[in-house]
């Protein structure tokens, strides 16, 4: 365990029945009384519920629901124009992935100025001022970065503590749909992030606490994937915690490898995570199975380390099955494997572990 540590995850989580009803009060506690909602197209029902949640508070809200493809500067300009001309003072992003990335980038321009955003996009090291509150109304399909200090824009990852949202609301009324293959692939990303914490030497007691919660929530959700209504809240909670881990470790080597494989093999990061998971699980059991077992036994409500391992394996199989990628083979050859390892710049035991894993994948 890394005793010297630096951990930061200042996102308030509000989860459960009626969570959305508290959004007006919570925004007001952050000194925001006129938020702009940024949502993907096709979310009319959620937006209606959201508008209802502001009910008789007297707070005015605006809606920008034209997010379709990858966020562009034109989207940012549109949002900035609406935000400043109508005097909004906060943003609510609905869902995950591109909407949240757009909201984070647009918030820089809206809260400070387009010039500051231009400077930041040119050099992310410039310190950003305190931005207006960004609240995420969580969805079920994510890339893991939502609650993190990162935003993806124009295929580049930008980083600043100011990009961390102030709050994430997890409410079943905002979590529509079934446990689809896309949801399963999001779950695979969550699982790989949690395993990364056990496989890295750089973890802290603080990241470990969130990792254990994340495992518990993910496993509870996947176990109930076929029971309507039972899995959404724990799953969306686990998705939020993924950002906490990514913010603090930048993505462990499992997650980074999944991303590198996705780029190389033209697959999604979730699919590549599914291909890596059985190997990473085996490695984690071998490396720190006792510790994982001891930490997770009370959280999973089981009585032995072996039961913990069995539950984790069953969870992986269910995710892969629901995603339709069980037994996926990425056909990696030796030189591709070496290229992958070089691309994520690993050192020490992580490099050795990653090399072993690539050998397995290529055989």
């Amino acid at each position: 365990m890394l005793v010297h540590s630096d951990f930061y995850a200042p996102v308030k989580i509000i989860a459960g029945e009626g969570a959305m009803d508290n959004i007006a009060v919570e925004l007001s506690s952050l000194d925001s009384c006129k938020p702009l909602v940024i949502a993907p197209s096709g979310t009319a029902t959620i937006i209606r519920d959201l508008v209802c949640a502001f009910g008789e508070t007297g707070m005015e809200i605006g809606v920008f629901s034209h997010v379709t493809g990858k966020p562009t500067l034109a989207d940012v300009k549109n949002i900035h124009e609406i935000y400043t001309s109508r005097g909004f003072d906060g943003i609510i992003a609905v869902g995950g992935g591109k909407v949240v990335h757009l909201a984070k980038i647009a918030n820089i321009a809206a809260s400070s100025s387009p010039e500051i955003l231009r400077q930041f996009l040119a050099d992310e090291k410039i310190p950003l001022p305190q931005l207006n509150p960004l609240v995420i109304l969580s969805g079920l399909i994510i890339d893991g970065y939502e609650c993190s200090k990162y935003a993806i824009f124009s295929d580049k990852r930008y980083e600043s503590p100011s990009l961390i949202p102030k709050m994430v609301i997890v409410d079943k009324y905002a979590l529509s749909g079934v446990f689809s293959p896309e949801v399963a692939l999001s779950s695979a990303l969550v699982m790989i992030c949690a395993l990364d914490d056990y496989l890295t030497e750089k973890h802290s007691f603080f990241s470990r606490a969130y990792t254990n919660s994340l495992f518990g929530l993910l496993i509870a959700a996947v176990d109930k994937a076929r029971k309507p209504g039972k899995w959404k809240l724990p799953l969306a909670n686990s998705l939020s915690l993924t950002g906490f881990l990514l913010s603090n470790n930048g993505g462990g080597w499992g997650y980074q490898l999944a991303q590198a494989l996705a780029a190389k093999k033209e697959k999604s990061t979730g699919e590549c995570a599914c291909a890596l998971l059985p190997h990473l699980l085996e490695l984690a059991f071998e490396r720190c199975g006792e510790e994982m077992g001891r930490m997770l036994m009370p959280i999973l409500d089981v009585d032995s380390v072996d039961e913990v391992k069995a539950v984790l394996l069953a969870t992986y199989h269910k995710i892969a099955q629901e995603a339709g990628v069980e037994g996926i083979n990425l056909s990696i050859n030796n030189s591709e494997g070496e290229e992958m390892i070089a691309s994520i710049m690993l050192e020490g035991s992580a490099k050795a572990d990653c090399s072993r894993l690539m050998v397995r994948l290529s055989s």
């Binding site: 005793v3 010297h4 540590s5 630096d6 951990f7 930061y8 995850a9 200042p10 996102v11 308030k12 989580i13 509000i14 989860a15 459960g16 029945e17 009626g18 969570a19 007001s28 506690s29 952050l30 000194d31 310190p127 305190q130 802290s204 007691f205 603080f206 470990r208 606490a209 969130y210 990792t211 254990n212 919660s213 518990g216 929530l217 496993i219 509870a220 809240l233 724990p234 909670n237 915690l241 006792e290 077992g293 001891r294 930490m295 036994m297 009370p298 959280i299 999973l300 409500d301 009585d303 032995s304 380390v305």
Partner: protein
């Protein structure tokens, strides 16, 4: 997996832990964009040489920084108002708190006052009155127990009105909490024992009380394991830096857990013993924790039983039959208290009857117990306790803990 119908979780502070955490202060101040902090502390911290360590970690141009080192153990609104005037007079731009719960709570109050440009802290009393980011604030706990650096609450007395004022806001949390092993290395054994048991109580009550949630649970379990592995070890070897740091981390994890899940009966009665008889908070927690576990066992036997795992490890946990795990937790806490009592040569008390005041006289008399029970009825933590408590129940527990007798479980009215 425990998934409540509704829950909230928040830890806004950046947590830096290490043997050389203090050396990061100059860089952290720079990152926060400030250069003229006021350092708040107390005479005990100065006497232990800790302020000197903090000052030495600052850049040379900052060594004549404003210092207020006269914060009393039970801070008061007037002290907060006075420090706020000092802050403004010296054109300070940030706060560094070095101390235990009282110093950190005072610093929270000062920060609210100077940031909101109020002249009297009383005007900011209650929940949610503070709605803006406050001045940059770094907290450095010098005890491993209160977890104040992780909470959203400040408790400051108003001695004139004879009330404890509670201030709650997400903005009260420090921006940064630095857990440095040097800050607790010289803590006296009895204080180490009491504050360690305070942290253990935070973690355990967070795990079995009514407002628990999946994230506070994992923080609580880790805290219990770290305290179990390190408290007795550093009592035997107080200069064990690794152990001290682990305990500081455990206290912070427990603070995060209880700040998000609240606490129960141990705190209900503990606050009251503190208010009525002046017993230090950590001592109250140590004496009352086994009673809190016993009192709630019939309702939370699974959760209390699960706490055995971080206390004893997998092998012994598996050997212990399910129905006996909770009782084993209670006996381990009593064994820990006994060990702490022996190591401190009796300074860590096992029952309230044995606590002596500064004048050497018994601090609590049997006739005080009725008042303790009466006052406890109004403590907010009573609502989060799994089993209900009325005046008779509180008096029964107070009486048993006064005499050091185990609870007669037949007397618990199972609601």
């Amino acid at each position: 997996m425990n998934f409540p119908v509704y829950y909230e979780f928040f830890c806004g502070a950046r947590i830096i832990a290490g043997h050389d955490g203090l050396e990061r202060i100059p860089l952290l101040l720079e990152e926060l964009g400030v250069a003229n902090p006021i350092i708040l502390t107390d005479k005990g911290v100065v006497g232990a040489g800790l302020l000197a360590i903090v000052l030495a970690s600052l850049r040379s141009e900052m060594r004549d920084v404003t210092v207020f080192d006269d914060i009393p153990p039970d801070s008061d609104i007037l002290v907060v108002n006075r420090i706020a005037r000092e802050y403004k007079k010296n054109a300070c731009d940030s706060i560094i708190a070095v101390g235990g719960g009282s110093v950190i709570d005072t610093a929270k109050g000062v920060n609210a006052l100077v940031s909101e440009d109020e002249s009297d802290l009383f005007n900011l009393k209650g929940a949610g009155r503070i709605k803006r980011q406050l001045k940059p604030f770094i907290a450095m706990p010098t005890t491993s127990g209160t977890g104040s650096e992780a909470t959203l609450v400040a408790v400051v007395k108003d001695n004139e009105k004879k009330v404890k004022c509670i201030f709650t806001s997400v903005f009260l949390q420090p921006n940064i909490a630095i857990l440095d092993s040097r800050m607790t290395l010289t803590l006296p054994p009895a204080v180490t024992a009491a504050t360690g048991m305070d942290a253990l109580t935070h973690a355990m009550e967070a795990y079995y009380c009514l407002q628990k949630n999946p994230i506070s649970d994992s923080h609580a379990l880790l805290a219990v394991e770290l305290i179990s592995q390190n408290l007795l070890k550093i009592m035997e070897n107080p200069h064990d830096k690794e152990g001290r740091l682990n305990l500081a981390i455990a206290s912070n994890l427990a603070g995060i857990a209880f700040a998000n899940s609240m606490v129960g009966m141990v705190h209900t009665l503990g606050h009251s013993f503190g208010a009525v008889c002046g017993v230090p908070h950590g001592v109250c927690m140590a004496v009352l924790l086994p009673y809190g576990l016993e009192y709630n066992m019939h309702k939370k036997s699974k959760e209390i039983g699960q706490l055995l795992l971080p206390l004893v490890g997998v092998e012994e946990y598996q050997k212990t039959p399910f129905r006996l795990r909770g009782e084993r937790v209670v006996s381990i806490i009593r064994e820990m208290n006994s060990s702490l009592n022996k190591i401190t040569e009796g300074k860590h008390p096992l029952r309230f009857k044995d606590i002596l005041g500064r004048d050497g006289r018994q601090l609590i008399r049997e006739e005080d117990l009725a008042t303790v029970a009466k006052v406890a009825r109004n403590d907010g933590s009573i609502f989060m306790n799994p089993e209900e408590l009325n005046y008779e129940d509180l008096l029964m527990v107070a009486t048993a803990s006064f005499a050091g007798n185990p609870l007669d479980v037949k007397q618990i009215k199972k609601g």
